[in-house]
């Protein structure tokens, strides 16, 4: 049982990291990035291709992260410009549909060019004993990276001027603009960040199992569920929801079955929306 919970926490930290990228972009500009998982996969595939070409693993990972960030930035300065020119529901709708299309394009291109490419990082070393449970070293490294990224995000949002600027735009775009914060710059940086975070998840995930070209849709859906349960726009909420859902996921998969598990996760998102639209830790934003 303890092993199952630990596995859940490992999974949950990745869920959280996955949800954070989606939640930030939505909180900032109202764009639900339905290409989030596909951008993550793009980072993973670039990494895999670099490794195939003989680049050292760490450098290849950095290149993969940079590629995903660059694609997200490219989207921000091209496709999303007309989206941000709109307001309200029409911005939300256009953003959602465009990113859905972008997701298909990315998955289509990757599947077309590299149909059998997959990223699978093998972390050396035997199982490590944690509180009496033998954990795979890959799982531990993945969790350490996720925790590190989470800590980095907290420091960034709490203590740096730019992080505070981001939070100010999430709270009130017009107000932030009046105080001299440029929402466009903030959005560009956060979109890039979300791309990098997405790719980071794909990389950490590949430490426990392969990430192939078609993993994008599942990642997007997981990100969506986590972000919704945590409250769209809430970073802490995404991590809390991620860990919670990770544990629920492994327990349910262990004791009931994998089909039911997916339904349970989806149900959690639906129930959250209906019962508490602001999410676990979300503030009641209107």
């Amino acid at each position: 049982m303890r092993a199952v919970v630990f596995d859940g926490i490992v999974l949950g930290l990745q869920f959280g990291l996955l949800g954070v990228g989606l939640t930030l972009v939505y909180g900032l500009g109202g764009v639900l990035n339905l290409a989030h998982g596909q951008i993550a996969v793009l980072g993973a595939i670039v990494t895999a291709l670099r490794i195939d070409a003989g680049t050292p693993t760490v450098l290849a990972v950095l290149i993969g992260l940079a590629a995903a960030g660059a694609v997200a930035l490219l989207l921000d300065v091209t496709l999303l410009v007309p989206v941000f020119r709109r307001t309200g529901e029409s911005r939300v709708l256009l953003g959602l549909l465009l990113m859905l299309g972008v997701g298909f394009i990315i998955e289509g291109v990757l599947g077309w060019r590299y149909p059998i490419e997959a990223l699978s990082l093998r972390i050396g070393g035997g199982p490590i004993d944690v509180l009496g449970v033998a954990m795979r070293s890959g799982a531990l490294l993945a969790s350490a990276i996720a925790l590190g990224a989470a800590a980095g995000l907290v420091v960034f949002f709490r203590f740096t001027a730019f992080g505070k600027a981001v939070r100010s735009v999430i709270q009130d775009e017009t107000g932030a603009q009046l105080c001299g914060v440029s929402p466009a710059t903030v959005r560009a940086v956060v979109l890039t960040l979300s791309g990098v975070l997405a790719a980071l998840v794909a990389v950490t995930r590949s430490m426990t199992g392969p990430v192939n070209v078609h993993a994008g849709v599942d990642l997007t859906i997981l990100a969506l569920i986590v972000a919704v349960v945590g409250g769209l726009g809430s970073v802490a909420g995404a991590f809390a929801a991620g860990v919670l859902l990770g544990i629920v996921n492994t327990i349910s998969a262990h004791f009931i079955g994998s089909y039911i598990t997916t339904i349970v996760l989806l149900g959690a998102a639906a129930v959250t929306i209906v019962a508490r639209p602001a999410g676990l830790l979300g503030k009641g934003r209107e």
């Binding site: 109202g30 639900l32 496709l79 007309p82 529901e89 939300v92 709708l93 256009l94 959602l96 549909l97 465009l98 859905l100 299309g101 972008v102 997701g103 298909f104 394009i105 990315i106 998955e107 289509g108 291109v109 599947g111 077309w112 149909p115 849709v217 859906i221 969506l224 569920i225 919704v228 079955g257 089909y259 039911i260 997916t262 339904i263 989806l266 149900g267 998102a269 639906a270 929306i273 209906v274 639209p277």
Partner: protein, 349 residues
């Protein structure tokens, strides 16, 4: 504000608005489109493959009209067209094959079940006043959960292997050409219903609440009731089409009703044909079916192209290709007429 003005016009005049064409003009496009589509089997009737393609086209036209009623008319983003069709298809298959009900009972029941599910989703969305995004997420969650349920309940659905359906094989649905006419008949009926709705008070209410919800509410439109009504009607349409298709194919699997297969295609069709227009879904389905047949040789390539089409259409022509072309042609014709008038006056002078 436009919505308020339109809605109040019903109150004041009680008459047809200026935008409503006469009876003949209103239904002529349906008759013409139906007649043209009815000719297709003359050319393709002896090819099993081609009949499969055009039956698919008619099926997706029906889905797209149903989705158009829900999303195009009342702005509820239902990302569960496939799942609703699946509810119809699997219900009908199980009711007829397992429970032994005759088709004429099973299919309407399946249609009602789909309507109930869609209506319930719509009611939840409306009563919790979920915006576009949350309605989209809840219905998407429903879609995916339904898909997993189909995969998981192997005892009922036989999971990925798919379900062979015996009921309907000995009726006209089991033949080669008749199922096309059945689906085409359904599409025509849907179009007539859609046009009827457009011309009725309900249509005014739909337009009013789509243009400006608050204004519509203020002028006395019961926004909630009309939204749920659209959810019920559209889901019934989708469920019926899904059920009829199940019996005509004689085989369904979770892929038949998968999100990536159905909903994405329907979105592309509506993006092309234009949201909230009468023939838009049909034109979209036609063009999409041809495109799909054309690209059939490469699955991956296809996904990329659909993505590009969705992006380009929603970005460049948010009203849809068909309506944009129509209005361009109209404007051009008006300009020509205007010019000839001017030159005529000059000549008389």
């Amino acid at each position: 504000m436009d919505g308020a003005r339109r809605a109040s016009r019903i109150r004041h005049t009680g008459l047809r608005g200026p935008g409503t064409p006469g009876l003949a003009r209103a239904y002529a496009p349906i008759v013409i489109a139906g007649a043209l589509a009815a000719l297709l089997p003359l050319r393709y009737g002896d090819s099993r493959t081609m009949m499969g393609v055009i039956v698919g086209g008619a099926l997706f036209a029906a889905y797209a009209i149903g989705f158009n009623v829900i999303f195009g008319s009342t702005g509820q983003l239902f990302l569960c067209v496939g799942a609703l069709a699946g509810v119809g298809g699997y219900s009908s298959a199980l009711l007829s094959d397992r429970a032994g009900l005759p088709l004429l009972v099973a299919i309407p029941l399946a249609c009602l079940i789909a309507a109930g599910v869609g209506g319930l989703l719509s009611w939840i969305a409306v009563s919790r006043s979920l915006g576009v995004i949350f309605t989209g997420i809840v219905t998407l969650a429903f879609s995916l959960a339904f898909h997993n349920l189909l995969l998981g309940r192997r005892d009922l659905t036989r999971g990925e292997t798919g379900l062979t359906i015996d009921a309907g094989e000995d009726t006209i649905l089991g033949d080669l050409v008749p199922p096309y006419y059945v689906l085409l008949g359904v599409v025509v009926i849907y179009l007539v219903v859609y046009r009827g709705l457009q011309r009725s008070r309900t249509g005014w209410a739909f337009r009013a609440l789509r243009d400006d919800e608050v204004a519509a509410e203020l002028t006395g439109v019961d926004v909630k009731r009309y939204r749920v009504l659209a959810g019920l009607a559209g889901s019934a349409m989708i469920g019926l089409a899904g059920a009829l298709y199940a019996h005509s194919e004689g085989f369904i699997s979770p892929t038949t009703y998968e999100f990536g297969h159905v909903d994405v295609s329907v979105l592309v069709m509506l993006a092309f044909g234009g949201l909230g227009s009468l023939l838009g879904p049909v034109i979209g389905a036609g063009v999409f079916t041809i495109l799909d047949e054309w690209l059939v040789w490469s699955n991956e390539y296809r996904l990329m192209i659909y993505g590009a089409v969705v992006v380009a259409l929603f970005l460049g022509l948010p009203r849809g290709v068909a309506p944009t072309v129509v209005s361009l042609v109209k404007r051009r014709r008006e300009r020509d007429r205007g010019e000839s008038n001017v030159s005529g006056k000059r000549a008389s002078r």
